[in-house]
């Protein structure tokens, strides 16, 4: 797996690079700003770009804009946004634009090394990795929904993990249940929420997200 990193704070950038290299991930390029991201992608054709939201010169949302542009120009490129905060508007924009794997994680998640490696692996392969806080906000926004209210507590847990981008096996491991039990929960969720049942993990996640993001 070939990865590039765009992060303006050297301390963090070097920390992530060291952490990835120690765990056998090939970091092929580093940059500090949005033009740097586009240059790295054109030059190195990576599988995944890890991008900070706030980048110079204005330190607002350059990272998101650059990531959306890169996703448009390079179908199949995985984009993992690392941010200090959760912002549903940014997540929606990212998911709505382009194809390929996509992720939005809080920066401190990097410190949970196995989970972080799992997330970048998923995104590089075209899957999804959303921070549980992003999912929590989306679920909160739909908390008044009567269909969502029909889910059992266990099903709600499974739904949240699905929205984060976990596979059935990942969900089974997290909840300490058998994959068969997870599958049963998932089919029940799909029927309660009228979601199209589909095998591919990424499409499944997108269906869940579409449901969670739909307003009214």
């Amino acid at each position: 797996m070939r990865v590039v990193i765009v992060e303006d704070q050297a301390l963090l950038r070097e920390g992530i690079v060291a952490l990835l290299r120690e765990n056998g991930v090939e970091v092929v390029g580093q940059a500090e700003d949005a033009p740097g991201l586009l240059r790295l992608i054109n030059g190195h054709k990576p599988d995944l770009a890890i991008v900070d939201v706030r980048l110079p010169p204005t330190f607002t949302d350059e990272g998101i804009k650059a990531a959306i542009e890169a996703r448009g120009d390079h179908p199949g490129l995985g984009i993992l946004i690392l941010s200090q905060y959760v912002e549903p508007v940014y997540t929606s924009e990212l998911l709505a634009n382009g194809s390929g794997g996509v992720g939005y994680l809080l920066k401190e998640r990097v410190a949970d090394i196995p989970a972080f490696l799992d997330a970048i692996g998923r995104v590089a392969e075209g899957g999804t990795a959303l921070d549980r806080e992003v999912v929590a906000e989306l679920v909160q926004g739909k908390s008044g929904d009567s269909q969502l209210a029909e889910l059992t507590p266990r099903e709600s847990e499974v739904l949240s993990l699905m929205a984060e981008g976990r596979t059935n096996a990942g969900i089974a491991e997290t909840l300490v249940v058998t994959p068969g039990a997870v599958e049963k929960h998932i089919s029940s969720i799909f029927s309660k929420l009228d979601l199209p049942a589909t095998g591919a993990d990424h499409r499944r996640v997108l269906a869940v997200l579409t449901y969670l993001q739909a307003t009214v």
Binding site: T60, Y85, K107, V110, A111
Partner: protein, 340 residues
């Protein structure tokens, strides 16, 4: 208490005019019947006209209020006096125009009255009132300055928290994670490092909540409309945001407006759960206009804690707030915040 008889000024004036005209006609008739010698009735007319003119002056000035009323009375009485003097001069056979001097004096008096009347406030305000007016101006200006400085400082604090302390803590927890992964052969040390990493994680989350409480990043990054949409994604009933804003209001107004919207939506969620909400943002006459409308049951209590808190927030920015919440008719909160 016996009812006092109330005379209508119009009736009094009309009666006086009618009586005067009748008397004038009557003496003229007598003059005609007695051989039409020297035309003496003119003096009777003169005598009747003076009180009539005075009464007219009073009647006429009634349509004005305050100092204008006294000015009008003065003017018409002066006209009466001047007219009388000129008449006397004419009736006494003309000659040197002696009424000129008193008329000029009367005009000077009237000019003085006019000047005083028009400049009364300014002349009065020279003392304590003027001082207070200046003080209010100064306080309004400095309060605005203080609020703006505070808003700018808070945004800087928010940025510093993200880029400074929070970043360092993230870097720290990454290093702890790397250390942890190298301590597989020392389970006790590994557990201590894991706990340290968990603590760092808590600290990061607390800092993030603190920073968000000051101003959410999306507000600084994208402005009010996007920040309102972001709030909407957290509101169960669904929120539509309509904005005609072109520029961005000053940070202090923008942040204030953001929290006004946030609190209105919290109120709406509490009292009208699942009701659709519309947030309308506009600007005009140097004001930022915010309207939050929900399709809930209405009947909101303006003295309730939620709306009261909102009112204090609006007042702190010198804004105005109006609430319409008829039972069964939804709730509309309208807030205008000055931007200049």
């Amino acid at each position: 208490m016996p009812a006092r008889r109330h005379y209508d000024p119009d009736t009094i004036f009309a009666t006086q005019a009618a009586v005067s005209a009748a008397m004038g006609f009557f003496v003229t008739l007598i003059w005609g019947l007695t051989g039409a010698g020297t035309f003496w009735p003119v003096w009777v007319w003169f005598g009747l006209a003076i009180p009539l003119a005075i009464n007219f002056s009073w009647w006429y000035s009634r349509q004005f209020v305050g100092r204008r009323k006294w000015l009008a009375l003065h003017m018409s009485l002066m006209a009466t006096a001047s007219g009388a003097l000129i008449l006397i001069w004419l009736l006494s056979g003309g000659g040197g125009f002696w009424p000129g001097i008193p008329i000029v004096c009367l005009l000077v008096l009237l000019a003085c009255h006019l000047f005083l009347s028009e400049n009364w406030e300014r002349l009065l305000a020279s003392g304590r009132e003027k001082e207070l007016t200046q003080r209010v101006d100064q306080l309004t200006r400095t309060r605005k300055g203080a609020l703006e400085a505070q808003a700018a400082q808070l945004r800087q604090v928010e940025r510093d928290l993200h880029d400074g302390a929070q970043s360092r803590l993230v870097a720290l927890s990454m290093q702890l994670a790397r250390a942890e992964s190298k301590l597989d052969d020392q389970p006790e040390a590994k557990e201590l490092v894991r706990q340290a990493r968990a603590e760092a994680g808590e600290a990061i989350a607390e800092l993030r909540d603190l920073a968000r409480g000051i101003a959410p990043p999306v507000l600084a990054d994208r402005g009010l409309a996007e920040a309102a949409r972001s709030l909407g994604t957290r509101t169960p009933g669904g929120v539509t945001v309509e904005s005609t804003l072109e520029g961005r209001p000053p940070p202090v107004v923008e942040t204030g407006a953001y929290f006004v919207i946030a609190e209105s939506l919290t109120n709406a969620t509490k009292h009208a759960p699942n009701a659709p909400v519309t947030v309308t943002l506009g600007e005009g006459d140097g004001q930022l206009n915010i309207v939050v409308r929900d399709e809930g049951p209405g009947g909101a209590d303006p003295r309730g804690s939620g709306l009261n808190g909102l009112k204090h927030r609006v007042e702190a920015l010198d804004g105005r707030m109006g609430i319409s919440s008829p039972p069964g008719g939804g709730t509309v909160i309208r807030v205008d915040l000055p931007c200049e």
